[in-house]
Symmetry: C2
Subunit: 448 residues, 2 copies
C-alpha cells in the first residue's frame, strides 16, 4: 500500500479536503510509522481552519491520534544503529505491533527542556498537524523522535511507575483492557490539557492562602527546606489563620468546549480530593455547550465533586452578576481561560479579584492582549499562558481518565464528552459542523 | 503649631513645590497623626512627576515615611470609643510618642483582603501621596486606619512573633537600637518590595523543577496533603531527577534603581540560603546605576551571596548576548522587571525561556502591554504584576534589613543604597536631580 486517505488543510480558510496522499516513510532513524486507529478533531484546529492564524502550507491536519506501530527506524531495538543506553526507554523496548498514544507535540525526551518536564516546548519538537509536521487525521502518520514522544499502551510497565502513590495498587493492564480506545484517545491532548490547566491554577502561589488556610506570605512555605523564604503565619495585622469564608474558592471557567469540560472535571476532582469548598462558575456563550456542562456535572460521581461544592453554568453577563453577589464585589479567586480570544481574556480580567490568577490554555492569535500595564498592576494580576506539556502530564491525565469513566468512557450520550466517531471521509463536513457548534467532540476512524 | 512645610505635587508635570500648609488633624476615630522624622523619594514618584500617570489634583507627595505618633483618634487605648477586642492589636497598644514606620499604603487589617495578607489591595486602603490621601514628604501626616497600617518600632513584641523561626532568638529591641532611622525607613516600601519581588519569583511553580531538582509536574508536590495533585518524579520520558546543569538558575533583573538593588539583594540572599547555583544578570541603561549595583554586590558578605553564584552587571544588549551564550539559546529561567515601561517588558520577553516567569513590580502606565497573545502562548509565559503588600512583607523585610546592614545600614558611601539625607526645602531640586539620574535614593528630614 503506497497511498492513504488523509484530511488535509488548504489555505487560506475553511478548506479541509479528504485526499489520497502517499503513505509516510521512515525519514530519520528515530522515526516510527503509526497506523492510526483514531484521530480527534480539536477546538484548537479551528484557529487555523478559520484563518485566524495564517498557515500558507497545505498539510495533513490533526494533532490527536492513537494507533499501532507498523515501522520503526534504525535506532530501535536490540540491534539499534545507535546505542539505546541512556536514551528514553522506548528506543530499547518499542516494537512493531505496539498500541500507542501520542501527545500532540513531538518531544525528544533527551534535552534540558524535556528533562525539566516542559515537553510541550522541546526545541527539537513540533506540533502534529502543522506546516512543520503532518498530522494524524490520516491512515498513517510519521512520528519523529518516537522514543521520546509516544506512550506505549502495550507496555504499561514502561510508565506506570510514574503514577501517583494512590495508584500504585492499580492493575494498569487490567484497567487498560476495560477502557475504550475512544476514551484513551483523550490522553493525546484535551485531558492532559484540562489537568494541566487545573493543576497550574491550583499550584499558583496566590491560591495558597485559600488552599492552606494560611496568611500570605506564610502560605508560601511549602516544605521545611524553604522555611527561610517566608515568614510564619501571623504576618497579617490581625489574625494568623483564615476563616472558612476567607478560604472559599470562587473559580470561573471560561469556555465549555471539550477542553473546558476536561478542565472542569480535573478541577472538581482536585478540589474534591482535598475536601475544599468551592463555587465554580462555568461560562459559555453557546447554550448547547452550557447544557453539556450541566449534564457532565450531573454524571460525575460524588467522589469527583466533594461535599462542599457549588457548580453553576451561566452565560457571561449572568456570571458577572453571580460573582459580584457571591464575593461581595471582591471577585473570583482565579479564572481559567479555555477559549483563546480577546473577549475571553477581557471577561477573565473583569471577573478576577485583586491578587487573582488568570490561567489561560487557549491558543491565542498574533494580536496584543487586551490589558494595559496599569490594569495588571492595579489588580496585582498573575497570568499563565501556553500549551500543555502533554507528555509530562500523561500519568496524571491517565489517573483521572480511570477515575472518571462516568464522563470520559462514553460516546454519544447526553453526558459524554465525545459526540461521535465517524469515518475520515466525513472530515470536511465535520470541520464545518464543529466550527458552527452543531456537533461536539468528533473522532475519526480512518479505517471505518 | 498650625502650619507645616510639605512637598506638594502640582499638575501636570515636573512641578514639586515646598509650601506651607495646615497641619493635618484627626478626621476619623481610627486616625493617627504622625510627626515625620524621615520621608523617602521613590522611583515610582517619578511616574506622576513625569506626567506619565495623569494626576490632576494638588496633594502632598511621598509614600515612604517614618516618625513619631503625636495624636490618636478616639478608637485607641483603654478608653477607646469602640471596643478594641478583635481589632488589630495596635488599637489597644499604640501610644502617643511611639516610633512607627508605615507601609506605603493604608490597610485596615480587618477585611478579608487584609486577612489573606494581600494588604496592598485593601478595599478600604489608599496610597500615601496620592489624590486620595496626602503623603509623608511633610512635617506631619495623617494615617487613616493606623491600627491596621503602622508598625510600632517602640513595641517590637507586637510583631516579632511574626519573624521566621531562624530569627526567634534575636533580641529585636537591641537590634533596633543599633539600626539607623535611614535604614529603618527602607521598610516602608523599597525593601519589602524587593523581598516581595524575589519571593514571588522563587515561589512560582515554573521555578520549582530547578529549585527542587524534580521534573515537572512532580515538582509541584509541596506537601504530603497535596500529593494527589501531582505525579511523582519520573513523569519525564528519560529521567527522574535533574542534572546540576539543568538546575542552574539564570535570572535577569531589569532596572537597578533602589528597588532593583533591594530585589537583587533579596534574591541573592534567598539563593545563598538554599545553596543554589545561579547566574544573575543585572541590567540597566544607566551607567551610574550599574556601577552602584557592582559596588553593592562587592559589599555583600559571603553569607549573602553563597558559594555558587555569578552576578554580572550589564547593559541590555550585552545582557542578550550573555543569556544567549550562557543558556545555549534557551533563555533565562525567570526575569524580574523593576522599571515599569514597555522597553523593560519587551526585553523581559526576549530574555526569558519557554515556560519562563516574568515577575513585574514596576508601576505601569495605562497603555497596552507589548505582548501578543500568540507570543505569550508560544513561550508558555507566566507573568506576575503589581504592588507589594508591604504590611504583610514587613517581617521578611526586617530580617533582611538586619542581615544586610552592610548594604542597607550606610548613607552616602559607594555601596550604600541611600545617597543622602537632605532637608525638605530641597525637595524641588531633589526631584529634578533624581529624575535625571544625578542622585540616588534621597531621604528628606523635614526638621533638619
Amino acid at each position: 500500500m503506497s497511498s492513504m486517505l488523509a484530511a488535509r488543510w488548504h489555505p487560506p480558510s475553511f478548506d479541509i479536503r479528504v485526499e489520497s496522499v502517499p503513505v509516510p516513510e521512515i525519514e530519520e532513524p528515530d522515526d516510527a510509522i503509526v497506523k492510526v486507529t483514531l484521530a480527534g478533531l480539536c477546538g484548537s484546529d479551528l484557529h487555523v481552519y478559520r484563518g485566524q492564524i495564517a498557515v500558507p502550507k497545505i498539510h495533513i491536519s490533526g494533532h490527536e491520534f492513537m494507533g499501532e506501530v507498523v515501522k520503526l527506524g534504525a535506532n530501535y531495538g536490540p540491534n539499534a544503529a545507535q546505542s539505546t543506553s541512556g536514551r528514553p526507554g522506548l528506543y530499547a523496548t518499542l516494537n512493531v505491533g505496539d498500541k500507542v498514544v501520542a501527545p500532540f507535540t513531538v518531544n525528544c525526551g533527551e534535552c534540558h527542556v524535556c528533562r525539566v518536564g516542559y515537553t510541550g516546548r522541546c526545541p527539537f519538537g513540533a506540533l502534529f498537524g502543522s506546516p512543520k509536521l503532518d498530522g494524524g487525521q490520516a491512515q498513517y502518520v510519521r512520528v519523529p523522535k518516537a522514543g521520546g514522544t509516544l506512550y506505549n499502551l502495550s507496555s504499561p510497565a514502561s510508565w506506570s511507575s510514574a503514577l501517583s502513590t494512590s495508584s500504585t495498587n492499580l492493575d494498569v493492564s487490567a484497567l487498560l483492557s476495560k477502557i475504550a480506545d475512544s476514551s484513551l484517545l483523550l490522553l493525546s491532548d484535551i485531558l492532559p490539557t484540562g489537568v494541566f490547566a487545573a493543576t497550574q491554577l491550583l499550584s499558583h502561589p496566590k491560591m495558597q492562602p485559600m488552599l492552606k488556610g494560611l496568611t500570605w506570605p506564610a502560605s508560601l512555605i511549602s516544605d521545611p527546606n524553604q522555611s527561610h523564604v517566608a515568614a510564619p503565619s501571623d504576618t497579617s495585622p490581625n489574625t494568623s489563620t483564615l476563616t472558612a469564608d476567607d478560604r472559599m474558592l470562587t473559580i470561573a471557567i471560561i469556555g465549555l468546549g471539550p477542553v473546558g469540560i476536561c478542565a472542569s472535571v480535573a478541577l472538581l476532582d482536585a478540589l474534591a480530593q482535598r475536601g475544599l469548598p468551592y463555587r465554580i462558575i462555568a461560562i459559555d456563550l453557546n447554550e448547547s455547550r452550557r447544557e453539556k456542562a450541566k449534564k457532565v456535572y450531573a454524571a460525575i460521581g460524588s467522589d469527583g465533586k466533594g461535599p462542599h461544592g457549588n457548580f453553576v453554568v451561566l452565560g457571561p453577563d449572568e456570571a458577572k452578576q453571580a460573582v459580584q453577589t457571591w464575593t461581595g464585589g471582591i471577585g473570583c479567586t482565579s479564572v481559567l481561560e479555555v477559549v483563546g480570544n480577546h473577549s475571553a481574556l477581557s471577561l477573565a480580567y473583569e471577573l478576577v479579584r485583586a491578587f487573582g490568577v488568570i490561567t489561560s490554555v487557549g491558543v491565542h492569535a498574533p494580536k496584543g492582549v487586551p490589558y494595559t500595564g496599569q490594569q495588571l498592576y492595579d489588580k496585582n494580576i498573575s497570568l499563565d499562558f501556553g500549551r500543555c506539556p502533554a507528555r509530562a502530564m500523561f500519568p496524571m491525565a491517565f489517573e483521572l481518565l480511570v477515575k472518571r469513566q462516568d464522563v470520559f468512557g462514553q460516546v454519544g450520550t447526553e453526558s459524554s464528552l465525545i459526540d461521535r466517531v465517524v469515518d475520515i471521509g466525513q472530515a470536511t463536513e465535520m470541520y464545518r459542523a464543529f466550527e458552527k457548534g452543531e456537533v461536539g467532540k468528533v473522532l475519526f476512524d480512518p479505517w471505518k
